[in-house]
């Protein structure tokens, strides 16, 4: 089940048989991605099974007036710091899946926050064992979609890489906006937006809205990843400058990975015309 390849898929596009991975860098990101996974399931009246360390852990994406039978929270952390028992945890999940099928659910979403198990007794092995069991249960399924998450700040890089390699699908945020011309996706580390495609007058309102939301959600600098941007018109540059003026006092707007030809357009204008905007990161040619 270890794969050298993986697909990146917005969380809304995850489908039965997907066993997806998310290493989040903060509650914001977890709420945005895992929260969407849980919420979309609940809104579709699918069964959502949420596996976590302790029953006291918050579940992201809960909807108001939630019918109780839609959500089951399972606490899997063994009391007293014992070693994670992958067989027992997998059996607990299998029992839930069976119950859901018997209850007539069309689809089941299984979300697991495994952060608690990263530093557990026995090291990574029991966790990888659990992942293998999960994969065997989910991959052939036509009704179960799984999303495994950990807080990347709590794991060692080698452990995170091993966990990541155990998933063929990597969950990405749902785009804030996407059509055939432009795609806008929130980013979390660093905080900001990734813009790809082409930005012209027909998408100015969308850019303006997305920047306002990113600015409101970000205490420091707002980063814009422009690696996938093929064109930016002068009106959009004006909107970036306007957003920088409105964000001033809290931070700058930093343009990351801007393609060389777009950077040259900005340099022709001159940075003194664009207060509050700055460049960082390696530039693509």
């Amino acid at each position: 089940m270890e794969t050298l390849w993986s697909v990146r898929r917005p969380v809304r596009d995850l489908r039965p048989g997907d066993h997806a991975w998310l290493a989040y860098s903060g509650e914001d990101e977890q709420r945005h991605i895992a929260g969407a996974f849980v919420r979309d399931g609940l809104l579709a009246h699918d069964k959502v099974v949420y596996l976590t360390g302790s029953a006291r852990d918050a579940v992201p994406g809960l909807t108001p007036d939630l019918p109780a039978h839609l959500l089951t929270v399972l606490a899997a952390e063994p009391p007293g710091g014992e070693r994670l028992d992958p067989r027992a945890a997998a059996a607990m999940l299998a029992a839930e899946l069976t119950r859901a099928r018997r209850a007539g659910f069309r689809a089941v979403r299984l979300a697991a926050d495994l952060t608690w198990a990263l530093g557990g007794a026995g090291g990574l092995d029991p966790l990888l064992d659990l992942e293998r069991r999960l994969d065997r249960a989910v991959a052939p399924s036509t009704s179960v979609t799984a999303l495994c998450q950990v807080d990347r700040r709590r794991g060692r890089p080698a452990d995170l890489a091993a966990m990541r390699a155990a998933h063929a699908v990597h969950a990405t945020p749902d785009p804030e906006f996407e059509d055939s011309v432009l795609c806008v996706v929130r980013t979390f580390q660093p905080a900001g937006l990734a813009l790809s495609g082409e930005l012209d007058a027909s998408r100015h309102a969308i850019l303006d809205q997305a920047l306002a939301a990113a600015s409101a959600a970000t205490a420091g600098d707002v980063h814009l990843d422009l690696a996938g941007l093929g064109f930016i018109d002068l009106g959009a540059i004006n909107i970036l400058a306007d957003a920088a003026a409105r964000h001033a006092g809290r931070g700058r707007i930093v343009l990351d990975r801007i393609p060389a030809q777009l950077r040259a357009v900005l340099e022709t204008v001159g940075w003194h015309m664009l207060p509050g905007l700055s460049l960082s990161g390696p530039n693509l040619t």
Binding site: V181, E198, D200, A201, S202, F231, I232, D233, L234, G235, I237, N238, A241, D242, A245, Q261, L262, A264, V265, T268, V269, G270, H272, M273, L274, P275
Partner: protein
């Protein structure tokens, strides 16, 4: 603070130094930010003369500083801004031998625009004209674009000076005859300008423009077309054709938005100001011509390969 914009006619290096050195000294003495933009060998002669002043004077070679009139205005404006609250004392010797007739007209217009762009800057600018090498028409036009003339060490109010708005309107009348028969046409009829950008990018590649000039041209045409969509009246369209090394892109609409003689020439304070778009269009291509008439409004962009 008003601008002092002076021309002086010189003949030979001694004559040049006899006027420019006291001018730069007066700038240093009065605490102005002093810049010297001159052609060689004049530039080296000035550096030698002021060798004892260290970095008090900022030097630029005219050959690099005067490449594109609107970019040169931008660069002078940047110097004025970063020197604040000090005012600027600039020796400013343009380059004249490199341009064709239309480009020369644009540089003469540039001298006239200096009076508008830096009107309130308190700057003092001295523009030397070499009577030994410059053609008579350049010398004659200098008298129409500089309000002050330094003659025999004395400032004279220049009676032949022409108001920049009048001067600029005269330049706009230099619009040359219509498009050739073979010009390609693309209607601009939807809000989506993607097809227009592809069209221009293809013509740019066929003409042999480099990647960056091509990207600049696409950005400029896109902006003019977006303006035509927002402010113009249908039918709107883009014509492209080649004229020697120039690729021409002309956006026309049936409206009449009457650009003024300063439209797009005055650097905005920032990207947030109105006028940023057309000013940037002028920066991105080699030459922009505007024409508003009974048959509509036309913006013609020249890019040389």
């Amino acid at each position: 603070m008003t601008l002092e914009h002076r021309a002086f006619m010189y003949s030979g290096p001694e004559d040049f130094l006899a006027v420019t050195v006291p001018f730069l000294e007066s700038g240093l003495e009065s605490g102005q930010a002093v810049v010297a933009v001159a052609r060689e060998p004049n530039l080296t002669a000035l550096r030698d003369t002021f060798a004892g002043h260290g970095t008090a004077i900022e030097y630029f070679d005219s050959a690099a500083f005067y490449r594109h009139p609107v970019r040169t205005l931008r660069d002078y404006q940047a110097i004025v801004k970063r020197s604040e609250p000090r005012s600027v004392c600039a020796l400013a010797e343009p380059v004249w031998g490199r341009w064709d007739e239309r480009q020369t007209l644009e540089w003469i217009r540039y001298e006239s625009l200096i009076n508008v762009v830096f009107a309130g800057s308190g700057a003092r600018a001295l523009c030397p004209y070499d009577t030994a090498t410059l053609p008579d028409d350049v010398l004659a036009e200098a008298r129409r674009t500089h309000p002050l003339l330094l003659t025999d060490g004395r400032d004279l109010i220049n009676g032949r000076y022409v108001d920049p708005a009048v001067f600029g309107a005269g330049c706009d009348r230099a619009w040359r005859a219509g498009r050739p028969e073979g010009a390609e046409y693309l209607p601009i009829d939807g809000a989506d300008l993607h097809a227009l950008r592809s069209f221009v990018a293809e013509r740019a590649a066929e003409h042999g423009l480099g990647r960056q000039p091509a990207q600049n041209l696409v950005t400029a045409v896109n902006e003019v077309a977006a303006n035509a969509l927002q402010h113009g009246v249908p039918p709107r369209g883009l014509w492209t054709w080649r004229d020697g090394d120039d690729l021409l892109c002309e956006v026309g609409d049936n409206g009449f938005w009457r650009p003024g003689p300063f439209t797009g020439f005055i650097p905005p304070d920032s990207a947030l100001q109105q006028g940023f778009g057309l000013w940037t269009v002028r920066l991105l291509v080699d030459l922009v011509e505007l024409k508003a008439g009974w048959d509509g409004t036309f913006v013609r962009l020249h890019t040389r390969r």
